[in-house]
Symmetry: C2
Amino acid sequence: MRVSQLLNPTLREVPAEAEVISHQLMLRSGLIRKSAAGVYTYLPLGLRILKKIEAIVRQEMDVKGGQEVLMPIMQPAELWQESGRWDVYGEEMFRLKDRHQREFCLGPTHEEIITDLIRGEVRSYKQLPLLLYQIQNKYRDERRPRFGLMRGREFIMKDLYSFDRDEAGLDVSYQKMYDAYCRIFSRCGLAYRPVEADAGAIGGTGGTHEFMVLADSGENSVVYCPDCDYAANVEKAECKPQVVNDAMAEAEQQLVHTPKVKTIEEAADFLKLPKTAFIKSLLYQGDDKVFLVLVRGDRELNEIKLNNALGGFLSLQLASPEVVQKLLGCPPGSVGPVELPENLPVIADQEIPLMEHAVCGANKEDYHIVGIQPKTGIRLNQVHDLRTIIPGEACPKCGTPLKEARGIEVGQVFKLGTKYSKALGATFSDENGAEKPCVMGCYGVGVSRTMAAAIEQNYDEMGIIWPIPIAPYHCILVPVSTKDSEVVEATERLYQELQNLGIEVILDDRDERAGVKFKDADLVGYPLRITIGSKTLANGQVELKERKAGDTRLVSVAEAAQQVKDIVEKALAF
Amino acid sequence: MRVSQLLNPTLREVPAEAEVISHQLMLRSGLIRKSAAGVYTYLPLGLRILKKIEAIVRQEMDVKGGQEVLMPIMQPAELWQESGRWDVYGEEMFRLKDRHQREFCLGPTHEEIITDLIRGEVRSYKQLPLLLYQIQNKYRDERRPRFGLMRGREFIMKDLYSFDRDEAGLDVSYQKMYDAYCRIFSRCGLAYRPVEADAGAIGGTGGTHEFMVLADSGENSVVYCPDCDYAANVEKAECKPQVVNDAMAEAEQQLVHTPKVKTIEEAADFLKLPKTAFIKSLLYQGDDKVFLVLVRGDRELNEIKLNNALGGFLSLQLASPEVVQKLLGCPPGSVGPVELPENLPVIADQEIPLMEHAVCGANKEDYHIVGIQPKTGIRLNQVHDLRTIIPGEACPKCGTPLKEARGIEVGQVFKLGTKYSKALGATFSDENGAEKPCVMGCYGVGVSRTMAAAIEQNYDEMGIIWPIPIAPYHCILVPVSTKDSEVVEATERLYQELQNLGIEVILDDRDERAGVKFKDADLVGYPLRITIGSKTLANGQVELKERKAGDTRLVSVAEAAQQVKDIVEKALAF
């Protein structure tokens, strides 16, 4: 390819619309252009990168026995009504009606479509397992689409669905995908970590891992153990309960007047006690149920853990001050686990029963109860791990203090179980002729987001630094002059030679100053650059620059192509 | 690939929902499944075929300098409002609103998006020409989606858009695409014809050709010349005016009472004259204009030609009986070109002024005028070619009688001119610094429809007969037994050998009767089948069947793979 013939409009200025670095650099290097908020056009170089990621994903899916299919983007509402998700999905789902007023959505995911397919085609255990995947657009109506391809409204995903006879089969399929995902992100040249994650809104019963590309700009907070392989989303990470023995001295339980004290901080100041001596009491509403939640005063309640512990509400939020007032007769800041209505469940974090003596709200404005003994003095209906971990706490596997990292979620593997197969009736006859629901898993790779994440992890002040396996071209040739016939001829020979060696090479044949070409090459982020100038050429040499290392060296013009090939081959080997 | 591991559910029965043969066979051979009316899932074999067509299209686009991009499916209404098509497109366009009530459509085509891109990126004549294409889903809300992939609501197209400096440049781009399309359909192994076509609703000023796959089931009627290269859509084909001298004898113009006569047929019967003696007078309404249209009594008015001749109305239809009554004081069956309101234009087919004497309506119920002399007796404001050609008429190029064929439109090349570049302001500076609008062309291939068209052209009572270049696999191996170890071993060796030769081979390793396997192989339509049985194997032979010719022959097991390779190579050479 010759740059003069390529639609690759580069920008020197940072576009005002772009907040994150990958978005800025994709616009500046001419990979994408915005067509609407969260909706992009991929220009030729951007599409090349996308297709390289897709090719890696496709190979790894095929190796594991995945069969590629292509499902529709436009999905009928009926299937989503069968699964129960049509009303649940909310504003994130794009919906439309056809000319006959039939309802459709633009698929945010394809569990319904694939389960509908399988219920029609699979009858016997002999047809299982099945691994079916596609690479396709997905749609999500984000409230604030931004960050370019990191959070678009139209984006590209690979989604694979596994169908097995039983949980043991699902475990096998899950492990296959877990392994494939490790290979995919390794082959893309990315630093990543699979982390234990929360099952979230997809539902299902089993485990799930998220694949995080590590980058300071990541939206996800991850904890990991430097000594073992434990890693988890910070919202998911298991907490060991900790005992704080010196929180407060033994004390008789008493009602204490605490005028104008509303928060734990204010109460700690007023009573001259550490926050670890307090019980934080929060009245929550999950769908139409109300319950009281307790965590230690210095802890953060983790709503995801709370919701999982209680079986999963569609909506979970703090009860309004009006509900608190009506139920407990006080404002939210004064709520405590005492003198409660009999039918109000109390859900406590596992650290609460370990507190010997504590302070809590009194359900009476401007009063606290000091000296309560949680183990005996509070009706604890359920005890769970309900708080969010803090980096530095012990690894739940080996005890080593955990470290923290930021990550961009680029993939997720997920055990769905029988949620969709039961809802839609995707069953099979087992060896004994009994009808059983298929046991399902789903596995996604954010293809367009992986492209963005690769940039967030690989850039400098000059531009992008593409890992060789997903670079738009491996090597760019920059002749310093387009007039000097010796330079031009040497360049053309090298161009041909590199192509013959199977190197993806692009030639900057534009009639521009060398400085402009260098800037564009660094901005777009070609991994290798060969500069052909008359001075070095007089000595039979050209300049080879590795974008990542940043160093340049003179190499013999006769050996340049082979050297490029060696570097590329090494990078592509896996 | 082994059939036992492939999701390829075949059906013996013809599904009731499928009217056309390609739809029936795609369902029966397990290539697609319906997800909603006009919306399909491609199963593994169907997707393989699709990808083969896509690969051929992509290669031919790249050879011509096309650059692949990927534009959004979800398109903002604003761009369509700028081009003026938002209100024009009507019910065929799927529309939706996002959570902020902003309007979008699902792209039926991408002129607006690409022109918006180009106006942002192209500034100078040096950046032109540009040929940009994508392969992607398109959306059209058909009133009655049916015929499977022949007329879907979600379907796959390749669309290329050319941007040139001037009409001469457009001519070059147009010819490139015309040539590329010829290569594409030839390489797919299809019998096709490029035909002159009507510009239709896309607008634009220049020429257009449709690429028709010839098949009896085609929805399009085509006329072509057996002696020269002239071929045209029947609606577009130019008509030579014909003189019928003996239609009626010379007669004095007079008002004749023709009680209860309403149609040309009835009038011809009543007056004992041939239909060629009559003038058919039709009051038409184009948008808010009314005019009278005249064609000879034996001719069919061609509304497309009429609309083109008059500059293109958004809506064009026969005036209602109420409008006719109000304007001319008679029912539609009695309309004639006499005693007309002064401001009512009369638009005549070119044969009208060639009629010496004729009969026409009198604008008076139950009366006709006999003996009118059109050349002098009728106010003819405009004369055009307004009728539809009849096969057997003279070729407009060489005079040979034209033949008729049925075709399936699988591609179209189209000169758009400056319609969109002017509307959206996609301009460039020419050599003299003057701002000029880009001159555009658009070029589409119906990728999924090509798959259907290939079947409509290539099938028999047993199933599909894939042309080798787009077959899901080149060759299927059918071992007659899965128990006989010699058969199994010979099969496995052949399987390996064919793969080593680069043949796409599929092995039917299912524990099924040979008859079932043969039926499935014929149904799916693999071009080559090798049957491995113990009897022939005892003589060192296997049976090779060519699906298209239908003949089977015994070949040495040692030479079988090479013979397959020779056949495949020959078919792929172009």
